[in-house]
């Protein structure tokens, strides 16, 4: 992670801000105090389409919130609690675009990028789907875009 940050922070002498995000595997289910635990997750993806969709999401983010450099790394396979799932770094001249682009990329990644996560734990094994809050987050960007275009 340190190396990735170091690389992107040197991407351009004009960069005044780098926003980074790391998504981790939790060992708990979404409901609080369920007393049950997740042992690991298994992540799979659609090779070829995943890269294509992620590129498209990054290009869209750049169109609305121009930035100078981006790094997006997503792991697949079996991952245990606390393992890093996704790393995103966005570098821009000022912090506003770096924050907005990072949020935009993550919101769309969660709802459009062809990754599938299976939780394995005390409840057995189950595939996860799009969470309502993630779908709402994308809706927020769409509403904002429509408002700006009016």
């Amino acid at each position: 992670m340190g190396e990735e940050y170091s690389n992107i922070s040197r991407a351009s002498a004009q960069c005044g801000a780098v926003v980074t995000f790391v998504g981790l595997v939790r060992d708990i289910y979404d409901e609080k105090d369920s007393g049950e635990s997740v042992q690991n997750i298994e992540l799979e993806h659609y090779p070829g389409m995943t890269e294509s969709i992620c590129t498209q999401i990054i290009e869209e983010a750049h169109q609305y919130y121009p930035f100078d450099a981006v790094t997006l790394i997503h792991r697949v396979g079996k991952l245990g609690p606390n393992a890093q799932i996704v790393f995103l770094a966005v570098a821009s001249q000022h912090r506003e675009n770096a924050f907005n682009a990072a949020q935009y990329i993550m919101d769309y990644l969660k709802t459009k990028a062809t990754f599938w996560k299976r939780e394995v734990g005390s409840r057995g094994s189950q595939w996860l789907g799009v969470k309502e809050k993630d779908a709402k987050a994308v809706q927020r960007w769409l509403s904002m875009r429509e408002k700006n275009e009016q």
Binding site: L43, K110, A113, R118, W127
Partner: protein, 83 residues
């Protein structure tokens, strides 16, 4: 031929991750699903019945009415959950 790929829960329902279908027999996604119903488990047919699964053609999201050409790659995609 049309290459058909299944992912995650839909792969488990299909019992296979990939299948080829004669392109002359189907011209769109709905016809493809009807053709798949004849050779794949009822679990898959049930999972696709309400058309809530996302579909891709050649690595792009597509609608269920999307036309298919010989050589196309179709993906049946359950709700995603990356990040």
């Amino acid at each position: 031929m049309i290459k058909v790929l299944f992912f995650a829960s839909l792969r488990e329902a299909a019992g296979v991750d990939e299948i080829s279908v004669d392109a002359e027999a189907v011209s769109n996604i709905r016809e493809l699903v009807k053709a798949l119903a004849k050779q794949l488990p009822s679990e898959l047919v049930e999972a696709l019945a309400d058309e809530s699964a996302m579909v891709s053609v050649d690595h792009r999201y597509a609608g269920w009415e999307a036309e298919l050409e010989d050589g196309a790659e179709v993906g049946f995609l359950p709700p995603v959950s990356g990040g």
